[in-house]
Symmetry: C2
Subunit: 257 residues, 2 copies
């Protein structure tokens, strides 16, 4: 078997870096797409700013077995359009660019978030975001929809979960599959941004699960979704959140009994 | 590291047998609980009929790292109470019996089903089933709730998903975790029972995903949930259904756009 090739966005830090490390340990050749140098975590680095307009996506000579979309921005005041652009529109653009390069049986893994869990309730707005073809118009979209900082993040991740599901039937036809992983709080360089923006919602989550997750714990789930062992898992969103979703479902829906 | 020990119910056939094979390959010592002899798949076999009343659960000398609850009955006419008893009440009883024997860090994996996906809509009835402490009263429960063959199966699996979530907070306190896996159609000896009972619902699912899953594909997901790589995945229900859930979510909720 020839060496497997994984392309990872956001590979220079946090969950992306942990994923690069985990897949390298399994023998993958790693191509990193990141603004910053991932150093020895990657075999090849394409510097790229997913918020720049326009940005040029590199050509890929090696066929791709696995694409991990780990690049993402946290909620920060005044960056609402940028969060939607990087977390969802760029993720979609990178994926569509890579699809023709992917080998049959290939797997795509998107890093979504617990913040995207309410996609059903917000489906109308999610569909309007998915309908945005031109990322130059996102500022107008943000004003028209009155999207604040926290909402921009939640919406970007809802869109990742929904788009992952929506692509599934078409990908099955092409012999490919895509899944998402939804972490809650994770010990990365941007954890402080989340606690500042989300406040009580973030601290209570960490309290209920006793601690934050680690990037390696999320990378373990991503590595599974990249591997042939998850062949029959398609269009699925795996919560990797220390039980937070289950505990909140229990509080809100299952109890009292 | 000493040899890991997995207890598997239903290890003599179908998903349970594939799981025994997968975990044995990873070096686990396997204890099987099954009515039938699992042969060389297990290191130790406790013959047990989970539908018998009373049945005696064996004592366990070896501490347990992993419990996989794979035993289950398909929907068959006139067996409604039996399906609820084996698929949910016995699963709960076996798990509660084993909890004191489990090592810190241990993992429990329950085989649920795509049939359990509507647990939110049916939460009131699910809670009434979870409230049934005495499996001798299940015939009355089935009559009182007017539960037909298909509903008995769906309800039993909804209860598995809900109970898995409900237990999560308490298990985290004990350093344990429990997740469920939800397959749709799988090539096992009982696949015919499902197509007969579920009719169109079953055949359409297979059509949408192009084929049934294989027991090995489901076992791969179970082996992941049993392993330390899924440490931060708790109370989660992983759909291992070839994309069926995503495709139906797209049809019903996401489209048209």
């Amino acid at each position: 078997m020839s060496q497997r090739h994984a392309v990872i966005t956001g590979a220079a830090s946090g969950i992306g870096a942990a994923t690069a490390k985990a897949l390298r340990r399994k023998g993958y050749w790693i191509t990193a797409l990141d603004l910053n140098d991932p150093g020895p975590l990657a075999d090849l680095w394409h510097p790229i700013d997913l918020d720049a307009r326009p940005y040029r996506l590199p050509e890929f000579d090696l066929p791709v077995d696995v694409l991990v979309n780990a690049a993402g921005l946290p909620p920060r005041p005044t960056t609402e359009a940028k969060v939607l652009r990087v977390n969802f529109l760029a993720l979609r653009r990178v994926t569509e660019h890579l699809l023709p390069h992917m080998k049959k049986g290939g797997a795509i893994v998107n890093v979504a978030s617990k913040a995207g869990a309410k996609w059903r309730e917000n489906i109308a707005q999610v569909k309007r975001l998915i309908g945005q073809a031109n990322d130059a118009c996102l500022d107008d979209f943000v004003s028209a929809e009155k999207i604040d900082t926290v909402r921009s993040y939640d919406l970007s991740k809802e869109a990742v979960v929904v788009w992952t599901k929506k692509m599934t039937a078409g990908l099955v036809e092409r012999g490919l599959r895509m899944n998402s992983v939804s972490p809650a709080a994770v010990e990365t360089p941007i954890l402080g941004d989340f606690t500042r923006a989300l406040g009580e919602r973030s601290t209570r989550g960490i309290e209920l699960t006793k601690r934050s997750g680690t990037p390696d714990e999320i990378a373990g789930v991503i590595a599974f979704l990249a591997s042939p062992s998850s062949e029959w898992v398609r269009g699925c969103n795996i919560e990797a959140d220390g039980g937070l979703t289950a505990i909140l479902d229990t509080e809100n829906t299952i109890r009292p009994d």
